[in-house]
């Protein structure tokens, strides 16, 4: 009964938080794909499977028990490492237990403990430059070490060779290669204390796979260095055990566990989050969170909006004429305001008390920034009431376009996770609606964008929103009518948006999603 209750709580909670389904795990391996499914293994044997990277279930099989495994796919084999008595490796041709090719072979010890190294927490790196396979390992006491393995068998290339020492007094190491640099990520702090766990993932980099791995301040990780990659944030406490999931096209994610997810009773759970790159250093990105946003094209600097007549926030400012006045940029007759216009306060613009606040809570404005037409209307201008301005919008489908952002109702988008509609690595699908309405961004039959009068849950109304490595976002419909192409929201021209094949070298499909 307790189990059933806990399951229900987890399911409810997961609709709003990281990952869905059965995600309890500790010391997760790298998340890996096999025959279209995602697999991850953890301490204690077994592991999790997901069809989409969002909703997880048990069922992955890994013999050997032990702790903190890792997995890598090389050629036609999946090589798995785990720590029992020393670090073991073994391989299988598939992770699908229903396949006749499933079955782990050649379980071999490839590293052992000594006074200066606790041989657990293995992690693989396949060097993309020379094809060499490396394994780092070590935990908490002594060194993180590095040995070379045979990429075909997973066995040591030189069983009697001396491992490289590359970091100290940390654990759960992992390595990756990016833009000419080798990166060593290792977990600092303590695990296994629930919400009191100080786990955090730190990183150093080197030009050689064997180090030295220096952090952003030049401190060698073998002397305790490490730039923070991700630490506790919000209600997710103690991230550890980095694993890279490269989805291609400039989309990289990392797996980790949180020692304690406070929204799941402090359980240790799996998460998948974006990897960002800034100035040559990886940082943890964020999965999309529900909220109201401006969606701005990186290409054009203009923002997605309904193609309806906009109403200036606070109402249209009446144009005042006057001989000798000065116009707007090209206002022509009648657009100007009388030159030398001053207010009765003799220089103090009549909005609130000088330097203080007015009745509406707005700050007073002192002359110097401009008077007359520049004085505003006083007080705080409230947000535009979408219910009011939308009365003039067409009732049916409305086209989309891009325009300068002016904080108007047709430019504010509510992004909301949709339950029970699947997802992708790290996130559920979202609906994108004009805030305060049910008008939903969707894909039309001819693969163009359209705003429907109401969201009805169709796959052409569900959106995959992922942070790219530069921190911008890619927005893709779950499906496109009459097409199998994977398309992304694309700025075509300065003022129009459509769908196009994602080009990681272009800004056309990159978007800023930010608070309005």
């Amino acid at each position: 009964m307790k189990f059933v209750l806990l399951t229900a709580i987890l399911t409810l909670a997961s609709s709003a938080y990281a990952l869905d389904g059965q995600i309890g795990i500790h010391d997760p391996s790298t998340v890996i794909q096999c025959d279209g499914k995602f697999y991850v293994f953890g301490t204690g044997g077994g592991g999790l499977i997901s069809d989409d990277g969002w909703t997880w279930r048990g069922g992955a099989v890994r013999p050997g028990g032990g702790v903190a495994p890792d997995v890598i796919h090389i050629g036609d084999r999946y090589i798995v490492a785990y720590a029992g008595t020393g670090v073991h490796t073994m391989w299988t041709k598939t992770l699908d237990t229903n396949s006749p090719d499933f079955g782990f072979k050649d379980d071999t010890v490839v590293a052992t403990s000594d006074l200066d190294c606790n041989a657990i927490d293995p992690a693989f790196l396949l060097d993309p430059g020379d094809g060499k396979l490396w394994m780092s390992y070590g935990s908490y006491i002594g060194f993180i070490r590095l040995v070379q393995l045979d990429p075909k068998t997973g066995k040591r290339v030189d069983p009697n060779g001396t491992p490289y020492n590359i970091a100290v007094n940390c654990e759960a190491s992992a390595m990756m290669f990016h833009d000419g640099w080798y990166y060593l990520l290792a977990t600092h702090g303590s695990c296994c204390r629930g919400s009191d766990s100080g786990y955090n993932i730190r990183v150093g980099r080197a030009t050689a796979v064997t180090g030295p791995f220096l952090d952003n301040m030049g401190v060698d990780m073998i002397e305790g260095g490490g730039k923070l990659f991700v630490g506790s944030n919000g209600r997710d406490i103690g991230p550890g055990h980095f694993g890279l999931l490269d989805l291609g096209d400039g989309v990289q994610k990392f797996s980790c566990h949180y020692e304690a997810d406070l929204d799941r009773g402090g359980a240790s759970v799996l998460d998948l989050r974006p990897v960002l790159w800034k100035d040559g250093w990886p940082e943890a990105g964020e999965n999309m969170k529900g909220g109201t946003y401006e969606i701005q094209s990186v290409r054009t600097g203009t923002s997605l909006e309904l193609a309806v007549e906009g109403v200036p926030v606070g109402g249209r400012r009446p144009l005042r004429g006057g001989g000798g006045g000065f116009g707007g940029r090209r206002g022509g007759p009648g657009a100007g305001v009388a030159a030398g216009e001053t207010n009765a306060a003799g220089g103090q613009i009549a909005v609130g008390e000088p330097g203080g606040t007015n009745a509406a809570g707005g700050r007073g404005v002192r002359r110097g920034g401009g008077g007359g037409m520049f004085a505003g209307q006083g007080g705080v201008i409230p947000p535009q009431d979408v219910a009011q301005v939308s009365t003039n919008w067409p009732a049916g489908n409305v086209d989309l376009r891009l325009a300068n952002y002016l904080c108007q109702a047709q430019q504010k988008w509510a992004i909301t996770a949709v339950t029970n509609s699947g997802g992708y690595p790290g996130s559920p699908y979202f609906k994108i609606t004009i805030a305060g309405t049910d008008r939903a961004l969707a894909v039309s039959e001819d693969a163009e964008l359209v705003a429907l009068p109401a969201f009805s849950g169709g796959p052409e109304q569900l959106w995959r929103i992922e942070q790219l490595t530069d921190g911008t976002w890619r927005i893709m419909p779950k499906s496109v009518p009459n097409s199998k192409d994977a398309l992304a929201l694309s700025a075509i021209g300065s003022s129009f948006a459509t769908l196009g094949k994602f080009d990681p070298t272009s800004d056309m499909q990159r978007w800023l999603i930010r608070a309005p």
Binding site: A307, G327, R329, R330, G332, P333, D446, G493, S494
Partner: protein, 232 residues
């Protein structure tokens, strides 16, 4: 410094007067050219420019219209100013009457990517503030072209039709930016296709540009442009 300021003030005064009254300076150009960028066509057809821009148009004298917002411009272009407004293929020198004013169609080739309407009205001594320009061109395709897009820019707002179908509307006080407004995917027929636009200018400079983009967003160049009187 004072000298520079004086020059700037003098220049801005001239500009302000021009803006305020919305009348171009007296014409100095011949009937065969309109400013430094527009000339009467001298050949039956014309290929698009190097970047695919449509450089041959026939343009009606401006019509006085107020309002540059979406609703105002849409109302303006839906107003019936002259017979055949959405169907006529005018010839150079054709005349229409709008209200009690006789307006003339002018065929032009532009040397640039854009059609400088300010040059046109300057040469014609016509107003350019709060006006609507109607323009037409014929795009001849060697074969049917699917999934192309009309891509335009205009100063200020504009509405565009391809073979009678409204495909683009951009609104507000704006400058001409290449590929500012882009249509949804459309099909150009083999043979002639009529491209029509209405450009509203609130004041100051006014121009437009247009080209077609293919499915890879590359300019379509295997076209030819002609006007209604060509070949007759």
């Amino acid at each position: 410094m004072n000298t520079l300021r004086a020059i700037l003030l003098q220049a801005s005064s001239v500009l302000a007067a021009t803006v305020l009254f919305g009348i171009a300076a007296p014409p100095g150009a011949s009937a065969q050219s309109y400013g430094s960028t527009l000339t009467q066509p001298a050949s039956p057809t014309k290929a698009p420019g190097p970047d695919g821009f449509l450089q041959r148009w026939i343009i009606l004298d401006p019509i006085h219209v107020n309002g540059v917002t979406q609703n105002a411009v849409q109302a303006a272009v839906k107003t019936n100013y002259f017979p055949g407004q959405f169907t006529v293929i005018p010839r150079d020198g054709d005349k229409v009457t709008v209200g009690d004013v006789e307006l003339i169609w002018h065929a032009v080739d532009t040397k640039n990517y854009n059609v400088n309407l300010y040059h046109l009205v300057h040469a014609l001594n016509k107003p350019f503030t709060n006006v609507l320009f109607w323009a037409v061109t014929i795009v001849n395709c060697p074969e049917e072209m699917r999934d192309v897009r009309l891509a335009i820019g205009s100063n200020d707002a504009s509405v565009w039709w391809v073979n009678g179908q409204e495909v683009i509307g951009i609104y507000g006080d704006r400058q001409t930016v290449i590929d500012d407004g882009v249509s949804k995917k459309l099909t150009l027929n083999k043979g002639p296709n009529v491209i029509r636009c209405a450009v509203h200018n609130q004041g100051g400079a006014t121009d437009f540009c247009a080209r077609f983009l293919d499915a890879q967003n590359k300019p379509v160049k295997n076209l030819s442009l002609s006007l209604g009187d060509i070949g007759k």
